[in-house]
């Protein structure tokens, strides 16, 4: 028996067009809650699971355990070895993707309407009964180690890792989820079993399904899929303090460009000023052609192929971060331009015209995201993880439209700070005023 907790017919008032999407919250007989969009026009289902915790549950001496564990879920489970599992998935034409992250392990599954029971039984094996055979552990460990080694000679990875290591010192966020060569080499089977027990639990689970499936079928399926997982996980780590001060860190690297990762503290999605900050970031460097940073660095000076900034909102830390690659000879000029735009935004905020243009873009673009079963399933899980209500798509554009020029001015002045803005520069930069 399926109990439908609530039914919300969500009308997305997309400014130009009307997109209608019915999101239902359903609860399985076993008590697992999921958001469902029925879409019967294509005979398959996209199922998205997000197990909160992620690499944050790694123990101090076992960094990389959750990452390696996740990489092994498909490498042998139940009575199937790695090849047996892959053959079974191919015969069903089902596909499963297991993605470890700092805050969560995400599982994206697709399966055909013609064989949901078999596909779910197979996915259940991977989630509930992974084998961690020694041979598979060594094979995947070798792949993880190769990835860590290649990150050591990749400028973008070096820059990001250095930034995180210094910004979040003392917190799991300081280290890459893959761990280090030393920590990964030392991981034992017991570490993997513990990572499995702690990272895939029902208490921090969010579920969304979109496609050719009914609420009743979904509830039944979820109980079979997830009912045997542990109910609860160890407590999450504390908040990460953003511990970087203003300045520049240079890491010499032989390449024609300097890769620059820059950032400062951000703010939480729950913060009442979040939307004002979001609009401000869209104008500053939000990843489109028309942002101020793109105009100054790319359109006007031809300094770079692209520059972008983003508000990073993680479970235990927030940051406003950006990245750009520029010629070594002009690295100092680029850093100075970014500082100038930072200061200009902090002092003057944005114009009424910029606000209107940005609001028009954001509100018009929002409904276009709800395109495709797999996309929608991912959005619905992210919404749940952020603690958004099920009718959030109805109110989101109102929140964007409620932002005023004064809000942005105030938030920019409070948030943006040259005293906190740090640059990590990997390359052979020239023209820097004073390197740390």
């Amino acid at each position: 028996m399926l109990r439908i907790l609530s039914f919300v017919a969500t009308l997305l008032i997309a400014l130009p067009a009307q997109a209608q999407i019915d999101i239902r919250e359903v609860e399985s007989p076993g008590g697992i809650t999921a958001w469902l969009v029925e879409e019967h026009s294509i005979p398959f289902v996209a199922l998205e699971l997000r197990f909160g915790g992620g690499a944050n549950v790694d123990e101090e001496g076992a960094r990389g355990a959750v990452n390696l564990m996740t990489g092994l879920l498909e490498e042998g489970a139940g009575d199937l070895d790695a090849a047996g599992f892959a053959i079974a998935a191919e015969e069903l034409a089902a596909s499963f993707r297991f993605s470890p992250g700092h805050d969560a392990v995400s599982v994206s599954a697709r399966f055909l309407t013609e064989n949901p029971d078999e596909a779910v039984a197979l996915l259940r094996l991977a989630l509930v009964e992974p084998r961690f055979d020694p041979e598979a552990v060594e094979r995947v460990r070798g792949q993880v180690l190769a990835g860590i080694r290649s990150d050591r000679v990749r400028a973008t990875a070096i820059a990001a890792q250095e930034f995180n290591a210094r910004a979040f010192e003392g917190h799991p966020y300081a280290a890459p989820i893959e761990g280090t060569e030393e920590s990964v080499a030392a991981l034992t089977r017991e570490d993997l079993l513990r990572a499995h027990e702690w990272a895939l639990t029902r208490d921090r689970l969010h579920v969304a399904a979109v496609g050719d499936i009914t609420a009743e079928e979904l509830g039944d399926l979820l109980d079979r899929l997830l009912g045997d997982l542990p109910a609860s996980a160890p407590p999450a780590p504390g908040e990460a303090e953003f511990s970087l001060a203003a300045g520049e860190t240079v890491i010499p690297f032989g390449a024609p460009q300097s890769v620059i990762v820059f950032g400062q503290p951000g703010l939480d999605f729950d913060d009442p000023d979040y939307f004002a900050a979001f609009v401000m970031n869209e104008v500053l460097g939000g990843g489109r052609f028309s942002t101020r940073l793109m105009r100054e660095l790319r359109e006007t000076r031809g300094l770079t192929y692209g520059v972008g900034t983003a508000l990073i909102s993680r479970d235990h830390a927030n940051a406003l971060m950006g990245q750009v690659s520029v010629p070594n000879a002009r690295a100092g000029e680029a850093v100075e331009l970014i500082r100038q735009e930072w200061a200009r935004m902090a002092e003057q905020g944005i114009t009424a015209e910029e606000l209107e243009r940005t609001q028009t873009f954001l509100t018009g673009a929002y409904p276009l995201r709800f395109d495709g079963n797999a996309n929608i399933a991912q959005i619905l899980v992210s919404m749940q993880a952020e603690g958004m209500p099920i009718d959030y798509p109805n109110t989101r554009n109102e929140r964007v439209m409620a932002v005023t020029v004064e809000d942005v001015q105030r938030v920019a002045a409070e948030l943006l700070s040259l005293d906190r803005l740090h640059f990590v520069i990997v390359g052979q930069p020239e023209g820097l005023a004073a390197a740390e």
């Binding site: 130009p16 034409a93 596909s95 460009q257």
Partner: protein, 450 residues
Amino acid sequence: MMAKFAAVFMAVLFCALPLRAQEVTSFTLDNGLDVVVIEDHRAPVVVHMVWYRVGAADEPPGKSGIAHFLEHLMFKGTETRASGEFSATVEAQGGRDNAFTSWDYTGYFQRVAADRLDLMMEMEADRMVNLRLPEAEVLTERDVVLEERNQVVEGSPGAIFREIQRAALFMNHPYRAPIIGWRDEIAALTPEDAVAFYDAHYAPNNAILVVAGAVEPEDVRELAQAHYGPIPANAALPPRTRPQEPVHRAERRFTYADARVSEPYVSRSYLAPNRRSRAQEEAAALTVLAELLGGNPATSVLGQALQFQEQVALFTGASYMSVALDPSSFDLVIAPLPGVSLQEAEDAMDRVIADFLRDGVDPAQLERVKTRIRASEIYARDNVQGLAQRYGEGLASGLAVEDVQGWPEVLQAVSADDVMAAARAVFNRDRAVTGWMVQAEDAEAEGGEE
């Protein structure tokens, strides 16, 4: 020649077979513009794409990169629109736009709410013929492209390796040059080069319009006629014939060393036939072959033998580029585990290929590959932009709508014998380039803080 009231030839190619259930309509305007409409009414969204049948392989000698450079310049102004106004207008509709260049095509697309299609067509038709390029903007954009090259090529040892490999594989065909262009040739491109290339190749009779999403074909036809219809065909469109490959008589080999390489690998690229209109069978067999040899590591021939049984490889792969106007390549790659030399890895890969040529196809594996191909047609319908991509690149690469529609069935018809015949034909070392990627002895990239 203006066609005010054009009679439009319309062919509806709809088939209810599960293999190709999406509704696809195609027609051609009087001025030669090919139009493909793919219906998907799940969301009120449309993807509007214009593909030009011109790419990096159509560039004049010494002007490598001009196709891609022009793609950047298309976002500058026209007679009636200011520089940057195109993207700003798309953004003001909440839409996204971008463009891409390959060897055989250049494409422009916008993703917007379905009721904004009219405006997108108006703007795209405008820049098909009315582009204006002030010199200062062209020169700044050239710096942007040079930085793009620095970022995506010079910043990536793998990209440098692929450039070398391609230049060696194609001895005569312009596929040998990188899409973005050789650095010194990009730096020498002028506004006149861009205008000459634009005038020669951008015209309705050299373009394909693909509209995918919540649209009715009849509405698309009317809009296309209104916006693109008045643009005259270019009667002087150059024929699309490129220098072809001579007979390849000997394997070519190279070693590229870079300080930024941590995991060395061996890559072999064989000259291979492409999909041709009404003759896609061999390409289908090669597509299946790539899947059998290098698809899922746990089940593929190379992965099973070298990653799972012998455990000499970190990674193995096989890939084949089927869509191309001229013959393309079939590639194999192996990255050995630490302690295994590149020579041992290459020998192991060649031994597995030789065994495969002797032992033939595992029928169960072939069946599973076909099951996945069949299912991938269902999953593909979830991504209407991906479908639009198939038709755009296919039609820009010498295929007809019927070829694109028929491709899943051609794949299903591939037999084990077809696969083996294609494998025996393609695995000829005289028509291949083998490259070794190694780590340079250079401490510069080692890092360390100042």
